[in-house]
Symmetry: C2
Amino acid sequence: MDTKKLGRQTVRLTSPPSIAGFGSAVGKKEGQGPLGRCFDFASQDDSFAEKSWEKAETAMQKQALSYALDKAGISSDQLDYVFAGDLLNQCIATSYSLRAQNAPFFGLYGACSTMAEGMSLAAMLVDGGFASYAAALTSSHFCSAERQYRNPLEYGGQKPPTAQWTTTGSGAVILSRKGTGPFITHVTTGKVVDKGITDANNMGAAMAPAAYATLHAHFEETGRSPDFYDLIVTGDLGSLGKEIVTDFFQRDGIDLRGRYDDCGVLLFDPTTQDVHAGGSGCGCSAVVLTGHLLREMRRGTYRNLLFCGTGALHSPTATMQGESIPGICHAVAITTEKGGAS
Amino acid sequence: MDTKKLGRQTVRLTSPPSIAGFGSAVGKKEGQGPLGRCFDFASQDDSFAEKSWEKAETAMQKQALSYALDKAGISSDQLDYVFAGDLLNQCIATSYSLRAQNAPFFGLYGACSTMAEGMSLAAMLVDGGFASYAAALTSSHFCSAERQYRNPLEYGGQKPPTAQWTTTGSGAVILSRKGTGPFITHVTTGKVVDKGITDANNMGAAMAPAAYATLHAHFEETGRSPDFYDLIVTGDLGSLGKEIVTDFFQRDGIDLRGRYDDCGVLLFDPTTQDVHAGGSGCGCSAVVLTGHLLREMRRGTYRNLLFCGTGALHSPTATMQGESIPGICHAVAITTEKGGAS
C-alpha cells in the first residue's frame, strides 16, 4: 500500500484516472482575451440572465459542469462525488449549483487553488476504488468578489499595479476510472506557507512562496526535473508572482523559462485589457485548464503538464486585524500517455 | 475495486482506519454543560488569551489538534494530510491554525458537517493507501460566528426559540492505518437537500431533511437497520431538528427513539443553560464526538456508532437575497470491533 506515497507531499496514482470531460463558461472580458475562442461558453453579459452576481456565478457553475458531463457522456446521476468550492462567503455559488445536481458532494475551500485541490481529491478517490466518476468544479465572478473582498463596484476604487483582476468564469473536470486520457498521474499536496505579506493587493507575492515550496517538493519527491514537463503552469500568481517563482528557482540554479507560465498571465492581454498584474480567482486557473490547456493536450501540443493551483487563504477580517496572507499550492501532474505513472 | 462501493452514496472501507487520537477544547459555557468534564480543555475565558475572537478560534484549533496528536503519539510532521475547515469567512481560523503545522492540508467548507466531512475524506485516503496518518479538524466560536452571521454581540439581539447557540469549541481526530480502534467502517456522503426553509433562525428544520436523506441512504445501501447501532447521532440539528428526523422515520414505520440523539441536544442543559433549541456550529458535533462519544466507545458504552454531521450551507448574502437554506449530511460508521467492516 505504501508504494503510492513517494514522499511527504506526493502520491503516485497506481491506476491514473482519465480526464473524461471538461467544461468552461466565462464572462465578457474573458471572452475577449487571447483564449476567448477556446471556452465552451463566453457570455455577452456578466449577469448570465440572473438577478444577482452571486446567482450569476451559480449559473456559470451549472453551465461548466453541464458541458463537462456532456463531453464525458454521462449525467450527474452517474457522478460518485463532486468536489467543489468558490470564493464567496460560505461558498454559496457552489452550494446553490449543487442543489440542482443529484450527486454526493464534498465542499472545499482552497481559494484560487480549488480546481487543483478538487482534482487532487477526485483523482485519489477514483484511483483508490471509491468512485468510477468524480468531478472537480469551481468558479469566481469579478462582481461578486469585488463587493465581498474590496469595495462595491459603484465605489469605483482604484487598484495598484500589483493587484489582480478576479476572473468571471467557471471550470469543471470529470475524472473517470477508464478512458483515453489525459491521465492524472501524481498529486502533490501543499502546506500552508506564509512569508509575511500583508498587502491584499499583492497576492502574487503572497502566494509565490507556496508555489515554489510545492514545486520544489514535487521535483524532489518524484525525482523529475522541470524539463520533464512540456509546461508547468501556476494559477494564478499573475505577472509579479510568476517572476518571483522564476527568481526563486534561478537561485537554485534551475531555469524555468520557456516551460513555465501562469494562468493569470495567459488569460488576459495586458496590452489591451486593463487587468494590472493579471487574472485571479478560483475561476482563473479553472478556465485556463478546461478551456485551453486540456484542449491543447488532446491536440498533442503538450504531453506532460504540471498544473499547480495557488490560493491566498486570507479574508478581509484577517487583513483588518493586521494578519499576513497565508498561501497554499496544490500540484497535479497530467500526461497524455497511458502508463505515464511510471 | 468496485466492491468498496455499496451504493450511490456509501462506501465500505476494506481496511478500516483506526481512530488513533482525538482532542477537544471548549469555551466556558460548554465547560459548564452536562459534558463539561469530558473535554481535554475547557477555558475560563472565551478569548483563549487572544486579541480577537477569530484568533481565539485559531488558538482552540491548535489546542484540539495538539491533544489529538499527543494521544496518537505522533507529531504533526507525521500527518500525511489534514482536512480542516470552519464557519468563518474564507475559513480563516483554519488557515491560520494550519500555518503552524508542517502538514499537507486540504481546506473544506461543510458548515457544521465539517468534522464528518473531514473524517470521511481522511478515512478514504487512509484506506486507499494514500496516507498512514490523516487528521480531521474543525471549530466554531460563538462570538466570531455571531458577528459574522447575525449581529455584533454589543447589539444584544433577541433570538426566537427555534434558534441555536453556536458552540465555542474545536475538535480533532487522527486516523491511522494501524491501531486498536475505534475503526471507521463506512462512509455515506450527502447530497445537497433544500426543502425551502428560508428562516436562518430555524436551521434545525433546514438541515433535518438532509439528515433524513443520508440516514435513509445509509440504511438502504448497507442493509443495516437502525438497531444495528447502539447510537445514531446527528450534529447539530438541535431539539427541533431532532424531532423532525424522528417524525420522518416514524412515518416510514421506523422508531428511532432510544438509539437516536443529536449533538446540539447533548452539549447543553436546556433547563439551566439558555441555548434555545440547542447547540450548533462546526465545533458542536466535533467536541461531542471527541469529548464524549469516542471516550464512551473506548469505555465500552457503545460498540457501534453512526456519526452524522449536518451542515446548513447558507450565508447572510443568500438569505438577504431571499434564497432558501440548502442542507447536507455526511455519515460515518464507527465500531470498536476489529473486523467490523463486514
